[in-house]
Amino acid sequence: MKNDKSLLLNILAIAFLAVLAYFIYSVATSNDIGIKVTDNNVVENRVAYRYLNKNVLDENSKYEWGGKAEDSAANVVTSIVADYRLFDTSLEVIVLFITVMGFGLVIPKENIKIKESTELLYHWTPLLMTYMLLVGGYMFINGHISPGGGFPAGAIMSTAILVGVLAGKQTVSHTTLKKIEAIAGTLIFSIATLGFFLKGSFFINFLEGGNVGDLFSAGLIPILYTLVAFKVAAELSGIYFEFYEGGEEHDNV
C-alpha cells in the first residue's frame, strides 16, 4: 500500500478534488445573472408547492383538514412517494428485487452451519419477533399519516425474520419468501395495471380516498405500502437465507 504508486494516486486524487473544489467554489461565487445553485429558491417556485397544496389536478382547488383532497395522505412525503411519483417507487421495488436476486446469483453457495443459539435468545425470540412485526405493521399501515412507510416497515420485519433465523427457529422457508416476494411484486403491478382498465391510466390511485388525516384515507397508498413492506421484508430476509442455505453449486470457475 505504501509504495510510490499509491502516493501518486493520492496526489492525483487530491489534484482532482482540488479542481472539483475550485469549480464548485467558482460556481458558488459566480456573479453572472441567472439562477445560481446557492440561491435560496422559495418553495413556491417549485413543483413541491403544488404537492403541498394538493392542487395538481385543479390549480384553484383548496382542501381542509379532515376534508377531501385529490390525495388525502396527511404525510406529504408519502403522498409524493406513493402517489404523485408512485411509478418511481414501484421501480425502487424492482431495484431491490434485482439486486437481491443478483446477490443470490453471485453469492457462493456454501453450507454454513449456524451455531446453536443461546437459551435466552431461543426462548425470547417469539416475543421479540412479534414485537418487531407489530412495529413493522404499524409503520406500513400508518405510512400515509405519519413518518414511515413500506420500505422501513419491510426492513424492520425482515429483522424479525433474521432474529428467527439466528435463533434457529423454523419461521418461514426460503421458497415461501420467494413466493411472497413474487406475489407481492405481481400484485403491485397488477394493481397498477388495474388502474389502466378502471381509470385509463397506469399507477393511478383509483380508490376513493378518505379524508385528510384519517387512517382509512389516501386510497391505495396503505394497500401498496403493505405489499411493498411484504415484498421488501421477503427480499431482505432472502439475503440471510442465501448465506447458509446451500444449494446446487454449479460454478464454472
Partner: protein, 123 residues
C-alpha cells in the same frame, strides 16, 4: 453561518472523502465503504437542497399546518432521498455479494492489476 450552509459543506465534504477513497483504496470493501460515504453525502446534500431555515416537517397534523404550508421544508428531495437510499442499499448488497464471489475466484480483495482473462472461452 446558517444551518443550510453547514449541511451543504458537510455533505460536500462527505462526498469528497468518498471520492478520494474510491480512487485511492485498493481493497474492494474499502471502495464500497467509500461509495457508501458518497451516498450518505448525497442524501444529506439532497435534503439540504430542500432545507429551509426554521422549516417544519411536511406532514399535515392539523388545519393550522395547512394554512402555513410555506413553512414546511420541501418534501420532494425527501422523497428522492428515500429512493436513493434504497438504490444505495441495493448497490451495496449486490456489490458485497460480488465481492464474496470475487474473493473466491481471485483469492484476494485487492482490485489491483489482476488479469481475469486467462480463462478460456465458455460459450
Amino acid at each position: 453561518m446558517t444551518m443550510s450552509n453547514i449541511f451543504l459543506i458537510s455533505s460536500t465534504s462527505l462526498i469528497f472523502i468518498g471520492l478520494f477513497g474510491v480512487l485511492t483504496r485498493k481493497n474492494i470493501v474499502k471502495i464500497l465503504l467509500s461509495l457508501n460515504i458518497i451516498e450518505t453525502g448525497i442524501n444529506l446534500l439532497l435534503v439540504a437542497f430542500g432545507y429551509k431555515e426554521g422549516g417544519k416537517v411536511p406532514i399535515l397534523t392539523s388545519s393550522d399546518s395547512i394554512n402555513h404550508l410555506g413553512n414546511m421544508v420541501d418534501p420532494v428531495p425527501q422523497a428522492l432521498v428515500l429512493t436513493s437510499i434504497v438504490i444505495g442499499l441495493g448497490t451495496t448488497a449486490f456489490a458485497l455479494g460480488l465481492t464474496i464471489r470475487y474473493y473466491k475466484t481471485h483469492g484476494t480483495l485487492n482490485i489491483e492489476a489482476n488479469d481475469e482473462e486467462e480463462v478460456t472461452a465458455h460459450e
